[in-house]
């Protein structure tokens, strides 16, 4: 059974806050949910399925948020794979809707790491519960930045990727962010400014890293029948894939991501090719993340990602593949250190024709959103979704 055309995105909302000192995490989740319901023209009592990630949702597997929001559900899924959870959940929603297990599904993400002052990228985080690998990793002080930096270092060594090429990813994001009034970083930056920004973890500079922000977002997905009864543009899911990648018992290869396995089934289900995409949201925790995932999804040959992103090729209006037109994680936001949901939101805006006019892709009827959660340097889950405007 395929999920192609079985579920539609009818409501989206991105919280405008980037520093939520005056809000709790449950408030953020609920405000996002209310925003997405208003966008869809539905009410809370229409929701019969809730999809979240246990890691950013207070309570046992989302239960406390179900209680807080007063939801009456037939289906609950709190699968947590870090930042890619929400991309995964788009596929899981479609599976549940296709199986008749729910008809109006809510997905939420929220968090306030900035208000809480977390040094999320550069400080090793001790695991709350011991994991099997803990003793063999934590003593070496793996943080987020130096793990992705090791991927970048190997990619540069193996394929000749340069710091200047990686910088182009940030430059493109900054060109888009200038039009987003909510973006944390709205100033256009140059390749020189990126490579001359302070080194965080060799070879990643400060401007190769995404922002730390508060905020969140939500989506409402539903059946084709209910979608057609609403007044929103018809955006449907036509393909989804997910795949974890890990250390493979010590046969470690950091030059590729799980996208090599999550992409092909999504494209096959949708019946389209990477070259057909009018727009792509690509998880941009770091500049290298984008380069690796673009290669692994087949937008260019393996090892050619650095060349592919250069010279403004990702900038809407001038490049061949407009990406992250909201400014992405590199410039706009990265709520709860999880960028998957906002990737879907901007793809839906593009398909609806509701992106900022300066970055809106003309006749955008086919878009991809992709991300990885966990760490490309150790273990992660990749998720790919392909959506179409009817």
């Amino acid at each position: 059974m395929s999920i192609k055309g079985k579920a539609y995105v009818v409501g989206i909302y991105e919280h405008p806050t980037r520093l939520a000192t005056d809000k709790t995490v449950p408030m953020l989740h609920a405000e996002c949910a209310a925003g997405a319901l208003a966008d869809a023209g539905l009410t809370k009592n229409d929701i019969d399925g809730y999809f979240c990630a246990a890691g950013d949702t207070p309570g046992l597997g989302g239960l406390s948020m179900v209680d807080y929001m007063g939801l009456k559900l037939r289906h609950l899924d709190s699968t947590d794979t870090g930042g890619s959870s929400y991309l995964l959940q788009v596929g899981h929603v479609a599976e549940a809707i296709a199986a008749g297990k729910c008809s109006v599904a809510l997905i939420t993400l929220a968090g306030r790491p900035r208000a809480e002052g977390m040094a999320t990228g550069t400080a090793p985080r001790a695991p709350a519960v011991p994991m099997p690998e803990s003793g063999f990793e934590f003593p070496y002080a793996p943080a987020t930045a130096n793990m992705y930096a090791m991927c970048a270092m190997r990619h540069m060594h193996q394929y000749g990727t340069t710091s200047e090429q990686m910088a182009w990813v940030k430059v493109a994001a900054s060109h888009h962010a200038q039009y987003n009034p909510h973006a944390m970083l709205r100033e256009i930056v140059t390749v020189e400014e990126v490579v001359n920004s302070p080194m965080i973890a060799d070879p990643l500079h400060r401007l190769d890293c995404c922002v730390i922000s508060d905020g969140g977002g939500a989506m409402i997905m539903t059946t084709p029948e209910i979608a057609r009864s609403l007044k929103r543009p018809l955006v449907k899911l036509i393909g989804a894939g997910e795949a974890p990648k890990h250390q493979m018992g010590g046969k470690i290869d950091l030059t590729y991501s799980g996208a090599v396995w999550s992409g092909p089934p999504a494209f096959a289900e949708a019946g389209v090719k990477p070259g057909d995409m009018k727009y792509a949201s690509i998880y941009d925790s770091f500049t290298i993340t984008v380069i690796m995932q673009l290669e692994d999804l087949g937008f260019c040959e393996k090892g050619q990602g650095g060349r592919f992103v250069s010279d403004g090729n990702l900038i809407s209006g001038t490049g061949k593949l407009p990406f992250n037109t909201d400014g992405g994680g590199l410039c706009n936001n990265h709520p709860s250190n999880r960028g998957g949901l906002t990737k879907v939101l901007e793809a839906v805006r593009q398909l609806r024709g509701e992106a900022h006019p300066a970055v809106q892709v003309k006749n955008c009827d086919l878009a991809l959103a992709h991300g990885t959660g966990g760490s490309l340097g150790t273990r992660h889950n990749a998720a790919t979704v392909i959506m179409e405007r009817e």
Binding site: T122, F136, M150, P198, I200, A201, Q247, G249, G250
Partner: protein, 131 residues
């Protein structure tokens, strides 16, 4: 020149599955697991082989010779340090720190040799230094 300085190493988590590994580091040995059913060595060590799922895994001592697969110097830390993956002569690639070196002179492909560093209240932790 940025000489690698010693930082405080948190004690590794030790459990019944990995006790033998950490008992060996006290003796100055790096142990890996090898499966006698499929012949594959693996790391980090498990009781069940992650390749064939046999429980016929045994501890074998690694030579301590390795090459740097990749690395990164964390500059934004109280004491800058080099994290790395090194490929052991026996096959598996493992996470470690590169120590006793100029942090600016580390290179992929460089030959390194096993050393140990004390942890805070736990067994010594295996690390690697350029040959």
């Amino acid at each position: 020149m940025a000489e690698a300085k010693d930082r405080k190493i948190p004690a590794p988590a030790v459990n019944v599955e990995t006790q033998a590994f950490w008992d060996a580091t006290v003796q100055g040995k790096l142990m890996i697991k090898k499966c006698t059913a499929c012949g594959e060595p693996h790391f980090y060590p498990r009781n069940l082989c992650p390749f064939c799922f046999s429980d016929k895994t045994e501890w074998v001592e690694a030579s301590g010779n390795a090459t740097i697969y990749t690395y990164s110097v964390m500059r934004r830390a109280p004491v800058p340090y080099a994290i790395a993956y090194v490929t052991l002569a026996e096959g598996p690639t493992i996470m470690t720190n590169i120590v006793d070196c100029d942090l600016d002179a580390i290179k992929i492909g460089q030959a390194v040799r096993l050393v140990f560093r004390p942890s805070e209240g736990g067994p010594p932790v295996p690390m690697f230094a350029p040959v």
